[in-house]
Structure formats: structure tokens, C-alpha cells
């Protein structure tokens, strides 16, 4: 079973449009939306949810105002500036301390050192993940709670779920839509994947961000392919990106031209290749033949064996 992750470094380069099109061309695959804090793939495939699970992240602290004596120990020890002195009065003190949930990183230090036992601490439900059916096959996706953390852990969770589904249904391709950046959700998406497809736009920031995420992929031993999106916007930069890719052992597999049909397809809730046979669709079709060839040569996915770590 092979797992292809589409990644970019910079946001908004066309990852989701490419993933959706490749899924259509693949016929049958398991789709995974690893961009758990701004997921968009479901907008194209209108998934029918068949399984829904709560995602429990790390703990969060909560001060019980009734027990707080306003001693300030928690505020003194918290390294995350998560303790605010604006909690309600409790009859004994005019103000109590309060934990700002969006800033709490769940270290539990305040809980351990509160002499009044005024701080509760427990795992917080910080999102949901879903297994759905779509017109191209099963899809695993998630919704991280607003202002929640632990996105890397959630990514590992849904990739493992996708592996199980692929094994059970004997589907030999898992197709993942990645998130921008190089931080914890990206590390969690790349680790153990068979192959990365970098979707890059020919701009100074496109190349800058691509080189950083390519370095990350190399460090994680994930081989890579390159597609330049909106390639005709700047042919010279397109060529520079392809040359840089080759130098890093990444194989260029296609140039997708700027094509307004891409946006039109998105509005019509279709993949680019379903919507039209315009230049972008043709380029993606040609690219898919190459990607398929490379997929045969790379290692199987190791996502099933990943240990879930907490970040």
C-alpha cells in the first residue's frame, strides 16, 4: 500500500485542487485531509459521514473559582502566560485567577502546585474525525476544534485510520492533502509516507518555502516529485524551481498552467479534471501518468505503525 502526500510549504499553491484531481484519476483510493485546521477537500467531494469519533488532545487546566484563594502561585509558575487575574469573586476574594484555555499548553504545573486543590485538569475533546464515503472512495478527515492544539497528533490519528481502511478494503493507494508550513502537522503528515508531491508556484516565496519543506522531507527520508502550478506566471522562476528540485533529488513531473477553470471547477464542487478538459486539466492528467509510475517504485506506507506522539 502506497501513500502519496501532497505538500507545498507555502499555502494556497493548489494542493487541494491537485489532490482532488489525482483522486478522480486514480479511480479508487483512500483520501485523507491532513490539513486539519483549515480542511477544504470535503467541499469538493461532499462526503457522506459513516463514522464519527471525538479526538482527545492533551489536558487543559481549569480553576474552580470557589476554591481559589488568589494566592497567585499558578500565575507565577505558568510559562505560557495562560493565567489571568480576572476570574469572578467568590465571597472571600474580590477576584480569582482564571486559565485562558487558548493559551494553556496542558503542562499541569499549576495543578501540581496549587495548595488549595482549586485547579482541575483533564483531557479536552479538541476536535472530531470522520470516516466518509465519497464518489472516489473512502475519505478520512477531521475538524480540529477552534483554537485547539495537538494538530500533529490528530494527523497521525487519521493517517492510521486511513491505513486500516485501505487494508480492510484492499485499496492500494492513500492520497493525503497536506497543510502549509513545516511545523508539527507537516512533520506528522510526512513521517513514514511513501512519496511526497510538492505543488509549488513560480514566485520568490514559492521557491523559498519549497526549499524548506523539501529539506524537511529529505530529513524524514521521503522521496519527492515536483509540480509547478501556474507555471506560465513566471517561466524563468519555474525553471529555477525545477533545477533546484533536481539538485535535491526531486523529480519534476509537470507544469500546470494558470487556468481560470480551476476556480470555476471549485465553485461547481468538481475536481479540475471532472470539470473540464482545459489546459490545467490536461496537464494534471499527463502528470498523473508519471506520478503513478513513481508510486510503483517507492516504499510502502509506514503510517500504520506510527506511534502517536503528543505535540
Amino acid at each position: 500500500m502506497k501513500e502519496l502526500i501532497v505538500i507545498s510549504g507555502k499555502g494556497g499553491t493548489g494542493k487541494t485542487s491537485v489532490v482532488a484531481s489525482l483522486a478522480t484519476l486514480a479511480g479508487r483510493c483512500v483520501l485523507v485531509d491532513c490539513d486539519v485546521d483549515a480542511a477544504d477537500l470535503h467541499l469538493i467531494f461532499e462526503p457522506k459521514v459513516i463514522r464519527r469519533e471525538d479526538f482527545t488532545g492533551g489536558g487543559k487546566a481549569r480553576i474552580k473559582p470557589g476554591n481559589c484563594t488568589a494566592c497567585g502561585k499558578c500565575e507565577e509558575l505558568c510559562r505560557f502566560n495562560a493565567i489571568y487575574f480576572d476570574g469572578p469573586s467568590n465571597g472571600r476574594v474580590a477576584r480569582t485567577f482564571r486559565v485562558e484555555t487558548t493559551a494553556c499548553e496542558g503542562c499541569g504545573v499549576c495543578v501540581d502546585y496549587c495548595t488549595e486543590n482549586a485547579i482541575e485538569f483533564g483531557p479536552a475533546i479538541c476536535g472530531q474525525w470522520f470516516v466518509s464515503e465519497t464518489r472516489v472512495g473512502p475519505m478520512v478527515h477531521a475538524k480540529l476544534g477552534i483554537a485547539a492544539d495537538n494538530s500533529g497528533k490528530l494527523v497521525t490519528q487519521i493517517r492510521r485510520a486511513a491505513t486500516e481502511i485501505a487494508m480492510k478494503q484492499q485499496i492500494d493507494l492513500i492520497l493525503c492533502d497536506g497543510s502549509p508550513g513545516i511545523g508539527c502537522p507537516v512533520i506528522a503528515s510526512l513521517t513514514g509516507a511513501s512519496l511526497a508531491l510538492f505543488v509549488v508556484e513560480p514566485t520568490v516565496s514559492g521557491i523559498h518555502d519549497f526549499l524548506r519543506v523539501a529539506q524537511l522531507a529529505a530529513r524524514l527520508d521521503v522521496p519527492g516529485l515536483l509540480a509547478v502550478n501556474k507555471a506560465d506566471l513566471n517561466i524563468q522562476t519555474t525553471e529555477e524551481i525545477e533545477a533546484a528540485a533536481v539538485k535535491h533529488g526531486i523529480v519534476p513531473v509537470g507544469r500546470i498552467p494558470y487556468d481560470r477553470e480551476v476556480t470555476h471547477s471549485q465553485i461547481a464542487r468538481k475536481t479540475v479534471v471532472e470539470g473540464s478538459d482545459d489546459p490545467a486539466a490536461q496537464a494534471i492528467r499527463a502528470m498523473w501518468a508519471d506520478v503513478k509510475r513513481h508510486l510503483q517504485r517507492v516504499a510502502a506506507s509506514e503510517a500504520g505503525g506510527l506511534v502517536q506522539i503528543q505535540l
Binding site: 499555502g11 485546521d37 504545573v109 477552534i146 502549509p180 511545523g183 502537522p185 520568490v204 522562476t237 471549485q266
Partner: protein
Amino acid sequence: MRIAIASGKGGTGKTTVATNLAQVAAADGLAVAYLDCDVEEPNGHLFLKPTIERQQPIDKLLPVVDLTRCTFCGRCSQVCRYGAIACVNIQVLVFAELCHSCGGCILACPADAMREAPKPIGELRQGMAGPIQFIEGRLNVGEAMSPPAIRAVKAASAKADLTILDCPPGTSCPAIEGIRGSDLVLLVTEPTPFGLNDLKLAVEMVRVLKIPMAVVLNRCDIGDDQVRQYCENQRITILAEIPDDRAVAEAYSRGHLACDTIPSFAGHIRALLKRLSNGTTQ
């Protein structure tokens, strides 16, 4: 005034708006500071082309064990909620990538055998881009946690009339760390289904943090009318609508500030600045 430029979706034009707004405001005589809080992929320097005057490491504190004092009681490992310390026989292992530098293990050690030592996770770069104060954080490749680096950028900022924070995309910890403490969040989006979906998530995030917000609709003529309708229903002001323009995209691709060479674009940014100073927001 501290303005955070954010978006749920990536690639909607945060850096374009942030850098051009900085340039236009500085030309107007305002003291401007530009803070690149997108430490995973900082791009502002490509457009503002600052002269970097100071570079210093951004450190994360990691526990170090003094084995001559350690009794291998395992207390440090028990209190760590992140599983970042393991105590096995006569060894204490620290997993740097899991550690949040909370200091819990140091406090818990009954043998006084632990202290903290800095480990670089990135770099803080400061300088000037013409009259604009420039501060950038740059996370090292392979580091998973960006919030400490974002905090370092924000802590380094000096006083200015207008502080612009170019924030990372998304709605989780890095985005929140970027916008926390700002006076206004400008959400840059585009009129597409993806743009709308991610805008809704970003709006929910900003509401949790209780910060006033407004929207910039970039490439306002490429899609449909859903974002405008949404903003109207939610009573969120659209402070600027910037049309799609191949010349702007080409300037961007080369690392040029579009406001320097494209008058129509400069006009949109100047109008945005004016509306910001008039305080027309939610």
C-alpha cells in the same frame, strides 16, 4: 495600533497586504514595524528586502540532568504530561521535540539534579527596510513547535505608530499565537468556496480571542458572491476589495512590492490604510 494580518487559508495574500501596507504607511510618515510571525515560512523579507543588523538564536529551554546528583527516582518522568522524559535504570532520556519547556520537571526533582539549558530552535533577525523596522523569526527545519519562536518575534518589537504582524495561516496554535494581543485582526480571503470555508473558521478563532476584526477580499473578482454575503450576515466589515490583476501577480512572483509600480493597486492599499486609521471595523 497593532494589526495582525491573518487568514484560515494559505496563499490568500497575507504577505502581499502586510508588506504593501507597511510600505504605504511608512511613506505616509508613520513609524512602522513589520513583524514576520509566519516563522515556519517567513516571506516578508523577500519583498521588503531589509538590511539585517542583528541576528540571534531563538532558544527553547530543555532540562539537563546532573547524573552525579540524580537518584533515578523517576519523578521528572511522572510529572511530564508530554512524555518528554524517560527514566530507565540509571539513565534519564530527554526527548527534545516533545518538551514544551514548562519547567515542571525542574520543580519536581527532589534531588535538585535538574537545570535548564537553552537549545536553539530558530533565529531572530532584526533590521531596517528603508524606514520600516523589520523583525523576523525563522524556525529551524525539523523543529515542530513554532509558538515559542512567534513569542520571541513579538517580544522583540519596539514601539511604533503601526505594528503589522504577518501571521501564519490556519486556525491552530501558531495562528493564535500570532494574533493574540493585537488591536485588530485583518482576515485576508478570496471569494471562492475554499476561501469562504477557511474564513469562517478564522472568524470563529478570532471571536474566541475577542479581538475586533475586518476582512480584506483579495482577487475579489475571481469567484462568487458568497464571502460578501457571509460578511454581511455576520456584520463583518470588508475594508478592501482588491481585484485580480496579472501585473500584481507577476510583481509578486519577482519579489517586488506591487504598490511601488502599480498605481491602481497602491490606491487600494492607501484606501485600506485610511479606513484603518478611521477605525471602521466590527
